[in-house]
């Protein structure tokens, strides 16, 4: 599968590396040229030598998305540090480029939930943290009661 990841922070770069290791074709797009170094953390060879692609550009720029290969992408992951950017570029990937699988990282649970109801696949790390913390507190309360 060809996976395009926009936003190469801690999350984006880790997902990119994992997918590359699993044998997928991975292209990463980020505004900051320095983020290329983050892709190579823990790698024995360079990102390119391992078959990865890296493009510098903003996720809202059609030219950058096209240079990163959006036209042939099977999966599009929006993981920049901006919720609104992720929501908007995911819709562009879906509607304009017809990417079959589009996933947006959205930190704000309210926005994540509403856009999910509109048919956008969202992943909300904040929601995950809330659920885990609630479960941890309940478990501990259960142990103390019992």
């Amino acid at each position: 599968m060809f996976i395009l990841i926009v936003g190469c922070g801690r999350v984006g770069s880790s997902v990119a590396r994992a997918m590359l290791r699993e044998g997928h074709t991975v292209s990463a797009l980020d505004e900051d040229p320095e983020s290329h170094a983050r892709l190579e953390v823990g790698l024995e060879k360079s990102w390119e030598d391992l078959g990865g692609q890296f493009t510098v550009g903003a996720g809202l720029e059609a030219e950058a998305l096209e240079a990163a290969g959006i036209d042939t992408a099977d999966v599009f992951i929006a993981s920049t540090d901006g919720d609104n950017t992720n929501i908007i570029i995911s819709q562009i990937a879906k509607r304009r480029y017809g990417v079959p699988t589009v996933i947006a990282r959205v930190l704000d649970p309210l926005r994540a939930e509403w856009y999910a109801r509109q048919g956008l696949q969202t992943v909300c790390p904040t929601r995950v943290a809330i659920d885990m913390l609630e479960t941890a507190v309940r478990d501990s309360a259960g142990r103390q009661d019992g």
Binding site: D83, N84, I88, Q91, I92
Partner: protein, 227 residues
């Protein structure tokens, strides 16, 4: 009318002030604390502090009963998201979005965020008007109707001077609608011969400007097929 304006920069602040003077009810939302404090000194309770892309901030501002939402922040993604949520989640009748980077206009259109306003585009239009050698002037853009009307001045090196209108191979989706010559306008017929100094008006599908420019410009061959 109840109008929510998002972004208290120069545009948003002045807009809110004008709307208040016209007796509208206005809430201006600003996410930068210091900017909010400054604007609040003048507009008082008409300003609200918060990030308007957070749904609860919009709800606190009373978006459910808003007649209009105007997003004029300096960030195109924010403007798009706020307008999309306003219209699709809160069913606000009227939205207006500011486009900061004209290259993002296509995204606003894709997401159905209309009307959108770009200062750069407006100034470019003005420039086209003020600098005639630019060649082609946009007179009217009917975005919804997918048509525009443009004006072109025929220089002495234009490829179409001295040619019959009927002989021009106008690009598909374009039509010559009038000729202004010596201060007088008329509707050309197939037998009209174009002259240097003519201003021609054409109606066309968006995106055909370059074809027309090629036809009427200095390098133009009048669209006459050779051989």
């Amino acid at each position: 009318m109840y109008i929510i304006v998002v972004g208290a920069g120069k545009v948003g602040w002045n807009l809110a002030r004008e709307l208040l003077e016209k007796d509208h009810e206005v809430t201006l939302i600003e996410s930068d604390r210091r900017r909010y404090m400054t604007v609040e000194q003048e507009l008082e309770h008409n300003v609200s502090y918060g990030d308007a892309s957070e749904l609860w901030v919009l709800e606190r501002a009373g978006i459910q009963r808003a007649d209009m939402v105007i997003a004029v922040t300096g960030d195109d993604e924010d403007n798009m998201l706020i307008c999309q949520v306003a219209r699709e989640k809160y069913l606000v009748d009227q939205i207006i979005a500011r486009v900061n980077n004209p290259r993002n206009r296509q995204h606003f259109d894709l997401l159905g965020i209309k009307p959108s306003v770009s200062a750069t585009d407006l100034i470019l239009r003005l420039l086209e008007h003020e600098v005639p050698e630019y060649g082609l002037v946009h007179l009217l853009d009917l975005q919804e109707e997918q048509l525009e009307i443009i004006e072109m001045l025929l220089g002495k090196d234009s490829g179409v001077t001295g040619r019959r209108v009927g002989d021009l191979h106008m690009p598909e989706g374009s039509l010559l609608i009038s000729v202004l010559r010596a201060g007088k306008g008329f509707v050309p017929t197939a037998d009209t011969v174009l002259e240097e100094g003519d201003e021609v008006l054409a109606v066309l599908d968006p995106g055909k400007e370059d074809d027309l420019k090629a036809l009427f410009g200095p390098e133009g061959d009048g669209g006459i097929a050779s051989g």
